[in-house]
């Protein structure tokens, strides 16, 4: 944990300074998670603030401060899902419409290694957003929490309130759907398939 249990307990008991300390400790992590979950940079801070407002409202219900982090992840996931449901829109960033030849030509023109690195990262983000945009929000969030945020199955149990076996099944099925989505994307855009 990024803060000690006493700080969580004091925040739970209404100590404003302790709550501020909690937010300061976790805001970067929450912002990062929200950014990956919703994929809309402009709304990341608003959703993160909503997460902390929900935390402020519900902290009194936290019986065991030791499970504060999974609790916060659950709030983050729910707030992000609510945001996505309201917007009913997929992440803004999409795979570039450039053909592979155009991308390669553009790559060749890149001057510095840093530019090349940035471009590659951008392509990775666009490709993954495109791929994960093909599956349901539930699948996408689960996969991001597990594979990108690096939550263990034990932590995911607390987030989703289901047992480990059920989570394994969900993860397996989510990966299967990503595989199908990838195959469909390849069929739709055969020109791009060499890029992945």
């Amino acid at each position: 944990m990024l803060v000690d249990v006493e700080t969580v307990e004091r925040a739970r008991d209404g100590d404003a300074a302790a709550f501020t300390a909690l937010v300061n400790a976790y805001r970067r992590r929450v912002l990062g998670t929200v950014a990956r979950l919703i994929g809309r940079p402009d709304d990341v801070e608003d959703v993160a603030q909503e997460v902390f407002m929900r935390l402020y409202d519900s902290l009194g219900q936290l019986r065991h401060p030791q499970i504060f982090e999974p609790w916060l992840y659950r709030l983050t996931t729910n707030a992000s899902l609510d945001f996505l449901r309201k917007r009913k829109r997929r992440p803004e960033s999409r795979m570039s419409d450039l053909s592979e030849q155009q991308v390669l030509a553009a790559d060749a023109r890149v001057g510095t290694e840093s530019d090349r690195d940035d471009r590659e990262k951008k392509r990775v983000r666009e490709f993954m957003n495109e791929l994960l945009g093909q599956v349901s929000e539930q699948d996408r969030l689960l996969l991001i929490l597990k594979e990108v945020e690096g939550l263990s199955l034990k932590e995911l149990e607390s987030v989703y309130d289901v047992n480990e076996n059920a989570l394994k099944v969900r993860l397996f099925r989510a990966r299967q759907r990503v595989l199908k989505a990838f195959a469909a994307l390849r069929e739709q855009a055969p020109l791009r398939k060499g890029a992945v």
């Binding site: 501020t20 805001r27 970067r28 603030q49 902390f52 990775v124 490709f127 990503v178 060499g194």
Partner: protein
Amino acid sequence: MKEQFDARDPRQFDARLDEWFSAYRDACPQPEPSADFMPRLWARIENRQQFQTVVAWRRWAEAFLSLAAAASLLIVLLQGAPQSTPVYYHSTYLDQLSEDAGPERMLLQEVALADAQAPMPRVPAPEVNRR
């Protein structure tokens, strides 16, 4: 990410998907909170609390109004309900007293009449000692 692989092979795909997720993790920029993140958060929390207080008061007021309306309706219904005819006394207290004493007087009169009509019992005359 340009290496070819057979997506129909689940093992190859799983391994590749893990690589993509890892690359995605590294490629995602870490957003920085703005300078006014905390002040804005506290302002929003306070606004929400004020709003919740107003909403709570409003609910109380609505509940009170509903109760008052229900009580008023109940009173109106009770007022309009048919009631048993009340007993009104049109005579004075003394008239009433004399009316109430009527049967007793009649009884006394009847007794007196009966006494008058009945033959008087003969009482033997006391013997005079003539000695």
